[in-house]
Subunit: 310 residues, 2 copies
């Protein structure tokens, strides 16, 4: 199953000609999750041939324009192209009010059901769950109410080693084995140890999206051991004071979070327009956390569903 | 003095990868007038190296998203880049309410004065005037309140033929000559005929922007003899019924307006996404009005300030 992040925009508030406002698409299996939706997101989706009709959920981290000014346009285009399947929209208080006002004046009556979930940006909370994943908010510290999001695959079933399975096993017992249980007899004695007939399950992958925020080490418990951590890095570390004043982070702070949380890979984004060349930001972060990459337009980060070695 | 139109977007509601939502920049002298502001306009301005700080007035024709979803982003970027000079914004009722709500939730307190002029889209009315130009609304017929705009240079002074000027003329008399008056003596008798000492003035150029509308021949009196007429042409004429249902126009209808109004040049835009190749739309219009061009991204239309032949 795919677990793949595509970056559509890497710019902070002021865009450049080749640097777009924040938006990312996380593909998990057949489901597309759109995270933030800066101006021009629908054009960027076209650019990378991503079908917006496949997006099931949209998550807006906060109401600064560079994170959501493309939303009304994308929702309108979905409508104009006859979308029928419901769309879940997660966002801070105010977002629904803004969209409602825009659609009122445009006389738009959406062709599909838009289900708005108002977020409490100040806490860690499960906001979405399906058979495969959960999504939680994580509280950021920015100039307006802001949260990040953690996407986690649920625990996966243990593959059965068919040639070792005794023939007496019933279908319910097979299911229990897949989920890690031993098989006991009626007296409660061990009949069949799980580890004798199952393999380790596939990995449950995770992605943490830390939107605009000042350096906030109390997030660490939430981020621990995630596969991918996106963390904003608006400034190089010489501008740490400016970062703090504007409630943003530096390269080194992002890298420090990644190192302390022992994540597998760090992605940097939300770059100030002052940096035409991003190499210094990357280098600065890699000094602290070597497994760092730039989350620039078009880049793809896949997490493999590797089976552990037998 | 420049009188030049630059096209930033030619798409109707659904954009294509290379076709942007409606926005145009009309340069008159040193003043830049932005007409409509679809999503991505600030990126298109960068693409064509047009400095948004030079924009003095913005005109929004109606509140369908493809005509204004780039506005909040552009206004935000002007703010973030420290604009100080006031900006005049002309738009339909509701626009100010939408922007105020967006800026409330983003905590934005603009660095410059945004002066909002609410338009009565249902009438022909002067909405702006300075030393050089006037701007009038023209009423469109669309699904929501919509107007077009006519930009006209004011009458220009008549050049004086210096070698023919009698030496007795006073400065006030020279000014009167420039503005076409004859010089009379105290008894009211002709002393000097204007045409003896002046040339024809430079042309006063004009541009009419007809935004989304069904075919509306009662606009003709406003459009007569304009230099440039932009008219939406969402559909080819075989889809005239679809055009009428959606309150849009066809190529032939746009061309018929141009022919009846005897304009100098017709520009077609606002193309449906169904047309990947726009040649058929152009050809169809040219059958009715040969001086037709496609108003596609990046194209420039200049009107010359020619002196008439001596």
């Amino acid at each position: 199953m795919d677990f793949e992040l595509r970056i559509l925009g890497s710019s902070s508030a002021t865009p450049l000609a080749n640097r777009h406002h924040t938006a990312q698409v996380l593909t998990i299996g057949n489901q597309l999750h759109l995270i933030d939706c800066g101006e021009g997101t629908q054009m960027q989706l076209m650019q990378y041939k991503i079908k917006h009709q496949r997006i099931c959920n949209i998550y807006i981290s906060h109401l600064h324009g560079d994170h959501y000014f493309g939303l009304a346009g994308l929702l309108s285009t979905m409508h104009l192209q006859g979308r029928l399947s419901p769309l879940h929209l997660f966002g801070p208080p105010g977002l629904s009010e803004i969209l409602s006002l825009q659609f009122k004046y445009s006389g738009t009556n959406l062709s599909y059901k838009l289900i708005f979930h108002e977020l409490d940006t100040g806490c860690y909370k499960k906001i979405y769950e399906d058979k495969q994943i959960t999504v939680h908010t994580i509280p950021m510290e920015h100039r307006v109410p802001t949260c990040g999001f953690i996407f986690r695959e649920k625990q996966k079933p243990r593959p059965l080693i068919k040639e070792r399975l005794p023939s007496y096993l019933t279908p319910p017992q097979l299911v229990r084995l897949k989920w890690g249980e031993d098989i006991m007899d009626e007296q409660g004695n061990l009949l069949l140890a799980n580890k004798e007939v199952t393999l380790e399950p596939k990995r449950s992958r995770s992605y943490a999206y830390c939107s605009d925020s000042k350096y906030k080490p109390d997030l660490l418990p939430y981020l621990r051991h995630v596969d991918l951590l996106y963390h904003e890095a608006t400034f190089t570390h010489d501008l740490a004071e400016r970062a703090s004043q504007t409630f943003h982070s530096t390269t080194k702070q992002a890298a420090q979070m990644a190192a302390s949380a022992e994540v597998k890979q760090l992605l940097l984004g939300h770059f100030s327009a002052r940096y035409k060349d991003l190499t210094p930001l990357l280098n600065e972060a890699r000094e602290v956390f070597p497994r760092t990459e730039l989350a620039i337009e078009g880049s793809i980060f896949s997490v493999q569903e590797r089976l552990p070695e037998l």
